[in-house]
Amino acid sequence: MTEPKIRFDKVSKRYGSLTVLDRLDFEVDEGEVVTIIGPSGSGKTTVLRVLMTLEGVQDGVIWVSGEPLNKMQSKNGMVPANKAHIRRIRSRIGMVFQNFNLFPHMTALDNCIEAPIQSLGLSKAEAVERAEELLAMVGLAEKRDQYPSQLSGGQQQRVAIARALAMRPEIILFDEPTSALDPEMVGEVLSVIRALAAEHSYTILLVTHQMGFAREISDRVCFFDGGKIVEQGLPNELFGNPQNSRLQQFLSKVLEAR
Amino acid sequence: MNVRYSAIAALIAFLLGLAVATFSELRIFLPALLRGAAVTIEISILSAILFFSMSFIAGIGRLNSIRPIRWISTIYIEVFRGTSLLVILFWFFFVLPSFGVVLSPTQAAVLGLGLNFGAYGAEVVRGAITAVPKGQKEASAALNLPDWKSTLRIVIPQAIPIAIPGLSNLTIEMIKATALVSAVTLVDITFASVQQNQIHYRTLDIFIVAMVIYYCFSQLIRFGGAILEARMTRHLARPH
């Protein structure tokens, strides 16, 4: 068995008395596309946020490519990771946010070259070349000099995807990437994600409410409830023949709403 | 709601000081400071009444559909915000008499403070009124309420809680600004401190006690404003 790309080992996360992740065990293999679904408050977004180190965890270890993320080895065993260690490990991870979080005072191109120049140490020419390629890939080559406020929601999210890819991550996290979009813009963003998933060179973790899309692109779907994985499996099995009663309830509610 | 630790500490220190004062050297200047505090409180209360009234009159006036009313409100707001309070106080006390209007020191102080802060308050009230969602006004129109009724019964009640933090900040500023009333010969805490300092030459004690008194006033208003705001908004679900 090769080491999984991402491994959560009994990870717990609490806000006060509220448990968001409850001794979670969870693995994702290299190149795998995994979708996380579940009701709000089930902890599905928290999985992405702790993986991106936007939030810490109380217990457990998160492993990325066999190296601990929130801990590090020292001669006294595992100790909490320091800043440099976290920065090194998390450079393998990129994230696309629900609200895009583009930098509003920078053009689309500047958004995509700022971090590669500063964090990866690319020259400006290299960074621009790569950013232009990526913007072309998401179909926005001609928008390079526009500011986020001059772009539609769908275009902003595609720039955000290009920005995340510009950091050459091995893992990409999508946190409800289409939830903040008008319905007519959902398609353009999904088709970019679809293309990435088809490449299988990235490990992708996606949180979404788009069940049809999850079924189409995922290698595996996980249903979260109460900070745990309640059921997981191949998309066709999970959607076609759900076993768990809470999953059945959830799916019928979601499908009803459509 | 956060009560500042220093506010509690200051209050305890003040009460303790009051107790100690009876037996110690504080006794020699504290009575004079407390008489000053009484003047500060009196001026503050009277000015606050004028300040709140002017805030609402000019704030609502500035949004009135009748142009002259809007102009008068705007001129009042700009003039009294644009000049310095001390100059206003002087003007009321020393220049107004030559127009045949002779004001007592208290009248000059209250008029100066009330009108000056009323101009600032008017902007707070105006901001609060415009912050009430437009849909409220449209809903009132849909219910066929006359314009003045929808303003008075629908818009203003919703604007008041929005205006409270701003108005309570201004109230604190106003109480602090009463320190200027010695310009019109009133003996408030600040001037009493200066006098006591000249007599007893105990600068540190006198001024610290005086500042703590002001600080207690400030925190009291802050606390009161927070309670009032919480009370008025508790039944409103806060959409986010």
Binding site: N101, F103 | T83, I88, F94, F207, Y214
Partner: protein, 221 residues
């Protein structure tokens, strides 16, 4: 109303003009110190070392909770007693600067907090260093709210300088008081002082608005 034009032109205007220089000087110097002082107080308040941030935040609150005038008097009387002898103007400028540092500290803090959390998160996701995050992401976005607020404090400081007349600094209010007591005529001097402040404030407010628009246009698109 009793108004003498000769007196206005021959006595009042020249003396107020001279004093206006001191008013402007006191305003500009206090403001400059307040800008730096506020930054220092803000950094202390946001320190991750709890005792420092606690003390800083209580000090800020105490300065804000007491009148500027009594702080001026306090410095004016206390400094000589600890053998620091400064000219009244310097003492006054110091007091105004300290008082306004407590206010600008809050401006800086509010400006930083106005930047949405998502911007910090995006910077983390892109693995930017703390320095780069501040320099390239956070500070440029917090300037649009900070700059007009600081401009308003510049105007406020300008309107606070008459308090220096209480400690006999020869600014514009003190000059009008002196004229009043020398000639037993207050009308011209006090009215002109009022007009001076009104005009300067209106001009300054217009400038602040213009700067605000300029900053908005050049930084946020």
């Amino acid at each position: 109303m009793d108004w003498q034009w000769d007196f206005t032109f021959e006595v009042v205007l020249p003396r107020l003009w001279e004093a206006a220089g001191i008013t402007v000087y006191a305003t500009v110097v206090s403001f400059a110190f307040a800008l730096v002082g506020g930054l220092i107080l803000m950094l202390l308040k946001m320190s991750s070392f709890k005792p420092v941030s606690f003390v800083a935040s209580e000090v800020i609150e105490f300065i804000r909770g007491t009148p500027l005038l009594i702080q001026i008097f306090f410095l004016f009387f206390v400094l000589p007693q600890v053998n620091i002898t400064l000219p009244p103007l310097t003492t006054g400028i110091l007091a105004i600067a300290i008082y306004n540092s407590a206010l600008t500290a809050e401006v800086y803090r509010a400006g930083l907090q106005a930047v949405p959390r998502g911007q910090w998160e995006a910077a983390i996701a892109l693995n930017l260093s703390t320095y780069r995050t501040f320099r390239k992401i956070i500070i440029p976005q917090s300037l649009p709210p900070i700059i007009p607020a600081l401009g308003n404090y510049l105007v406020a400081i300008f309107k606070e300088t008459p308090l220096l007349s209480f400690v006999a600094v020869g600014e514009i209010m003190h000059a009008s008081k002196l004229i009043g007591s020398e000639y037993y005529r207050f009308n011209e001097a006090v009215t002109l002082a009022g007009i001076f402040f009104l005009v300067m404030s209106l001009v300054a407010a217009a400038l602040v608005r213009a700067t605000e628009n300029y900053v908005k246009r050049s930084i946020l698109h």
